[in-house]
Symmetry: C2
Subunit: 403 residues, 2 copies
């Protein structure tokens, strides 16, 4: 049985954290020891901390003792100096906590192409470390420290009750703009006190990320700094091994990552609404994902949702250019606010001729969460993607970001 | 020798045109007889007029007598009735001009998923036909009739002087939103009075479209109605056959289509600036195109350009997630307004450390045309793409389109 719990990432046994924010700069430290897994951006321009962390996880047997993460500077496109700075961040923390720096992960988020202010980092490690705590305050502190244009902290925790006892999975994530993760997310730090071997952890994380962070779009820009790390402290004593326990663990991990992903989409830069796009009846899984993401990526769909404009033709057009294979005469489309549903197209026939249906759709479009469901009529596969509307504030935030 | 000329499409011998606009609805008729070629959207949701026109060109030996085009309704996603209506439009015009309807092309642009108002169409064919003219007024009339959110008419004409005499190529295009053409454009009607066989015409058109309309992005939404038609009236008596004349014809056709494509990008919905992104040093032609288009598609690059924000890291990030293969340590990047140039990165080394360079970049960013040049350092291939900034007005226009 899986149920949501309070307490943030520190609700997981063996996780302590804290962070502080000083103007645009922030620093977070999370202490949690155990087998670990990571997924990283597929952007060809990979930020220095990702190169460093990926290399460590690839050569240290898949184990982490702590994470150090900063906001305000992405340490991306910063050349040799950037790599040195990222390594230095792990060395500084390792020294303070008496650990081997090969077990320290490093993450950064902020402006691309600016040198790190290493004096600021080194002078703030001590105060952050001295406040590290296993209370919810520690979790919130770490979360707030890595926020940039995020308006709300993104945290989700759950408990899994098994016959052998309970374990927990919890994560925090940040991200609001430059969001179309590809094999990673902006930043996600996820913890469990179940005992899971690192190889298995990697498989579970990749599967969960593909259903969650890789299915959200704010603006279609894949960041240079997307990274999600998962550490299993094992403190609950519950060991994840066989088919059933593994399936349950995967379900719980999926839940945590999907909830965090939805929080990122909902808090997209300038967003006023969350959009959930579900594609059914796709020929292949890839087709289902392409069409679902294309709909939440489309600037025309996003602006229509912002304006409560019942312009559903744009949804069909976005599915059409997604690359998914289907026959336009077999589509079925509906839009819902979770309570009312407007059925617009059935098996390729427009059923919204009645002006009352368009009026109903317009009312639905004004809801805070919009559910789009499209049946491609081409096969058995499904996928769900999440996004947000495109608003004046998205333009405002990004026209004035560095200046 | 190729030189730009006045007069619009009617400057090409054997082309007459006119159009009228009545509120949101418009109707244009272009009369021009000869071998013809067409390219069409690759959106899986293809509008009825495209299905009809493509089928005609595929079975009539590649020949057109006239085009009838309407704005206000895209006749897309309109099922069987939409196909009947598109065919009826060609039949109505054929009857009036005593032609075979298999030689009549039909095009539509406007809202998706609404039935055509055929009464309006049939009652307006007569007045448009009666005003058809070979003067510039005819060309402008046709252009204005097919504009939707376009603010300026897009027309370009040139004359090619050869040893055997002169011929002309001219085109009109419309498009402002839902612009990321894939093997077509919003609507483009191009004419030449050179004599060219339809097979050759198709090859030339496809090559020119790949360098022009297929290299522009306004919002990344590929329309259901993209179509570009090219008709060769042959009235100049100049026959395009061998290597040299063909090369010259292709160059002139490229010029016309690239100029029209740039006009569409510049008149993108809400746009205040034209962005030209040139990629050199790419491993493959496909890589060069991917990176060039990714930069002009990125909402973050586009908002930065709108806000005169010297946030060049976003350009590098957009190239990074484009799918193009390169090594980030080999990039060279500059941004220019055509006069001043800010050199930002050279062989992977940031050379903008000096605050004066960022100030210079900020000045450049306020220009009306921004030239981005990025050398991927990965090979010999190049490509250029065009786009525009993303502004409050783009959101405004599209949040209130159908309502």
């Amino acid at each position: 049985m899986i149920r949501q719990i309070e307490g943030g990432i520190t609700a997981v046994s063996g996780v302590s954290a804290f962070g502080l924010k000083d103007g645009k700069k922030g620093l977070a430290i999370i202490l949690a020891e155990g087998p670990a897994a990571g997924v990283f951006t597929r952007n060809k321009v990979i930020a220095a901390p990702l190169i460093v962390t990926k290399e460590k996880l690839g050569t240290n047997g898949g184990f982490l003792s702590a994470v150090i993460a900063n906001s305000g500077n992405a340490n991306a496109y910063t050349g040799e100096q950037g790599l040195k700075d990222a390594k230095e961040m792990t060395r500084l923390l390792a020294e303070k906590i008496k650990a081997d720096d090969k077990f320290i992960a490093v993450a950064s988020t902020g402006v691309i192409g600016r040198k790190m202010d290493m004096n600021w980092i080194s002078s703030h490690i001590e105060p952050v470390l001295s406040s590290v705590s296993t209370t919810e305050e520690g979790s919130v502190g770490a979360m707030r420290a890595i926020m940039t244009t995020d308006l709300v902290p993104k945290v989700f925790a759950c408990e899994v009750k098994t016959d052998a006892g309970s374990y927990r999975i919890a994560g925090i994530a940040k991200g609001s703009g430059m969001i179309e993760p590809n094999m990673g997310t902006m930043l996600g730090f996820v913890y469990t006190d179940a005992a899971v071997a690192s190889g298995q952890l990697q498989k579970c994380l990749t599967a969960a990320v593909n259903k969650s962070f890789n299915m959200i779009v704010v603006d279609g820009d894949t960041s240079t700094n997307d990274m999600c790390l998962l550490t299993a402290t094992g403190k609950s004593g519950i060991r994840i091994t066989d088919g059933k326990s593994l399936e349950e663990f995967q379900n719980a991990l999926d839940l945590v990552l999907i909830e965090l992903a939805k929080m990122i989409a909902k808090d997209g830069e300038g967003a006023t609404k969350l959009v959930e796009s579900t594609v059914i009846g796709a020929k292949t899984k890839e087709d289902a994902k392409l069409a679902a993401k294309s709909i939440v990526r489309s600037p025309l769909v996003k602006t229509a949702i912002f304006g409560n404009d019942p312009n559903w033709g744009r949804i069909v057009a976005a599915a059409g250019y997604s690359g998914a294979d289907f026959d336009q005469t077999k589509i079925t489309l509906s839009v819902s606010d979770g309570t009312k549903t407007a059925n617009l197209v059935k098996n390729g026939e427009i059923i919204e001729k009645d002006p009352a249906v368009l009026d109903e759709l317009k009312k639905i479009m004004s809801a805070k969460t919009i559910f789009i469901k499209i049946d491609l009529g081409a096969g058995p596969e499904t996928a769900t993607a999440w996004g947000c509307d495109l608003t004046y504030d998205y333009v405002k935030i990004n026209a004035e970001y560095t200046t």
